[in-house]
Symmetry: D4
Subunit: 146 residues, 8 copies
């Protein structure tokens, strides 16, 4: 039986791709879904589809319609959500996705460096699993699939 | 008919107290609830109740049990959630509270300076109302109560 | 035991006020809630609270944040929703409020002149009760309260 | 992974067929469902199955049983709902379907000409995405499927 | 703390009134709600409010709109549902009310003479409590309130 | 896309088999599920699995555990429920299954001879579709699948 | 604002009474509810209300109808559930009540001696708060009420 | 149509394997899922993935994160839950899994020796089916699949 896993987190490096490759090498039957990983496309998509907006705030708002649509559709289909936090960026989207996953009853695997334990303590306490690297999150899924 | 309003956001200044006073001056029948506003007590509460923990991570984890208990109880009773973001702090708790409110079907009033429009665009697009100051959030509630 | 009733429908005449008076004369323990009945205020509220918007579309969008906030809060508290349709206006808000009531499991009393039976047939078939005048809706509530 | 999309809106022209063809040309894995598109059959179906009804109101009511059955079954299976509003017709069914989609937690793509922004402002504010043409709605789905 | 109890069952004798009196004598803080107990009024209410209907089927259908409205409103407020079955009448309304209570997660006390154990076995197996007389149902509530 | 249909109703004649054959002849992609149709087996199953019970009431109770298990599993998978009532038998199970379907949000097609319109008026008013023969119920599904 | 707290756990000593007194001394606005604390009455209640049962199994089954009714009614009204485990007794009821509280979304405070950490580790991991004495559970509630 | 069955219960002997073999011999289309059956691995998994923990309590807590993740994922996919209790062990996990299944609306088959009827009476009363051996649980599923 396949698992569908939504990968919430920043889109500034290729951590999702590495995770996909690792899962494949380990032979895990997992389908990964996630946000648009092309950062510029994610910011532009509102004006690409809806046309020029009056200013930067409205441009962002337009983009977020499409990014949220994408997140909602895939998260509703997901069996598990992995949320990755790192030292850089504010990552409020990650916090939002993680929290919505919790509130929808989706099991949440929180990945964060130990250095972030203080600001993330309340979220960590609500997560199903807390680990420090994406590979450990994959270990958790491998354990579920044993 | 009274409204119960949960005030999510940082606990480093007295914005909640100001809001309470303003509501009172305007004669609005609102009961405000929120997290523990004494920051040190919020960090210490785990060890105060459960005793000394093995290290800082577990100390945080213990504190978060009680802080999350508080948030859950009052948020479940709330008619509306106001979430305030500012320039300082990572505020992942605020993002978590705001998102859980959304996922529980509670109407969310997002308060953020315009300068934060980009990192908060996805959350803003899901909120019921987006304004820039707590007083505007109160204007919204006053309008509901007219 | 009091009933809370949400009055969805156009805000261009005083049908809600008449209903309130009639309920009072009949001694029915009903608390009525509804949208902002001052039409100009309902259209202006976005700019009143959030300030001048870039154009008419965004002005409307801003107003609707506050009008929807109001509707959501009161509809969640309502025991019953009455939705009044008339010959004039497109009344998509009324259709929206009526449908959301249905989907939330709130009993819906649909009030429409017989002349509208064709365009409203699918909504009528889903409503709990279909009558032709607000006074008949009140008769229904009086029957419930007998 | 395929998406199931429910197409709410008027049944007086062939916009659904055009959308189906466009999706096929773009190679999008989408299954479209929607109401009965043969308008006469949609109006007649009550008497076709249940036999002659006492008058036009009951004839409409009988038809709506079957039209609502169809809508409910397919909308429950849908991942996304697209609701198209145009200048013509009252389209209360469209407003009803759109609102029920919202209340069921289905992501809603609202399609409406800019000229309708005022009467649809409250519905627009609740939709996940608001665009002006069906092709833009397809752009949104293509973005989700990237 | 008061309990609200919905009394489903036939409306051909005064079993509800006896139960009310017994609860009062025992000093139990219970508010009883139920269907319209005046049988003729229950059958007539559709035409009383909506006017003459085309035939007996539509007359019944009109009455049931108001009877169902009443049931839904009070059952949603109830903490417990008592459903009484007896030897006489088909009592499909009772079976419907009992089953809807079960499906809404309301605790159900089924009251039936032992002679009916066979036709009611599946409903009995789903009920929270099965007894043979209304007074035993009251014993159960008294036990809850101890 | 296939539909799963649960067939609630008496198990004393072969109406389900006829419906299955008719659906096959019409080429409708429908999977039918339902209760145990062998009446003796349905009554005996408790003692067959659990062994001899103390008396007839407990024998019935034991059987109903397994019959309810079966109903719950298949009804949860169903897209639509058809409930057939006839002149004979008390059919409280049918009323229970129909009502639970309603409360679970499953569309319900009620089949009953016109002669039963009075005792079934409240259930009819809540059903999605009311017809008089199983074949008409199949017409309704065929319309959905057009 | 008062909190309603359900006290799950064994009924062999007076820990509930001590907790009530302590809450009163500390001036905490808490209403405590729980199971029947008279152990014999809890075991006898089935036969007291329903009469002599065929054997011990059915006697237990009868008693559990009334005990479960009580638990369900009060747990549905509770804001928080406290579940106390001790060294003695199997306490499956406590585990059941705690788990149902979790699944209903009620915040759970688990009280257990450290010696039980191994067999209760999965339950502990799901609880909102884990402490070792009832007084600590009260500390948690006092913190919420600050 | 296949059924997915979650097997809750102790992991100290091979009862699950026997059930799998029996289902296969009987040709039943059932997919079984369950907890990690290698007891040592179940206890170690926290430290295997997260590394050495400060003490035994935290070691257990770490393990339970992964065991609970596994249970949640498979239980959400299950159509039925079988929970086996025996004379040995405290089996609070079994009680927890059984209760969560109940609260999630999953049909529960409780398997317990008659000797345990007293401590399990409340859980038994809530289960869909109560039997004494795993093979009887399989009989129940075979009956559903007839």
């Amino acid at each position: 039986m396949e698992l569908i896993v939504y990968l919430a987190g920043q889109i500034h490096d290729d951590w999702r791709e590495k995770l996909r490759q690792s899962a494949e090498q380990r032979g895990l039957p997992i389908i990964f879904k996630g946000p648009q990983e092309d950062h510029d496309r994610s910011d532009d998509i509102g004006e690409v589809i809806k046309g020029k907006q009056p200013n930067a705030v409205f441009r962002d708002q337009a983009a977020s319609e499409f990014n949220n649509l994408r997140t909602r559709i895939w998260m509703q289909k997901a069996d598990v959500v992995i949320a990755l936090f790192g030292e850089k960026y504010r990552q409020w989207n990650t916090a939002m996705d993680a929290s919505i996953a919790l509130a929808m009853g989706k099991p949440l695997i929180l990945v964060r460096p130990e250095s972030l334990h203080h600001p993330l303590k309340e979220l960590a306490q609500r997560a199903q699993v807390v680990v420090e690297t994406p590979e450990q999150a994959l270990d958790a899924l491998a354990y579920v699939l044993e």
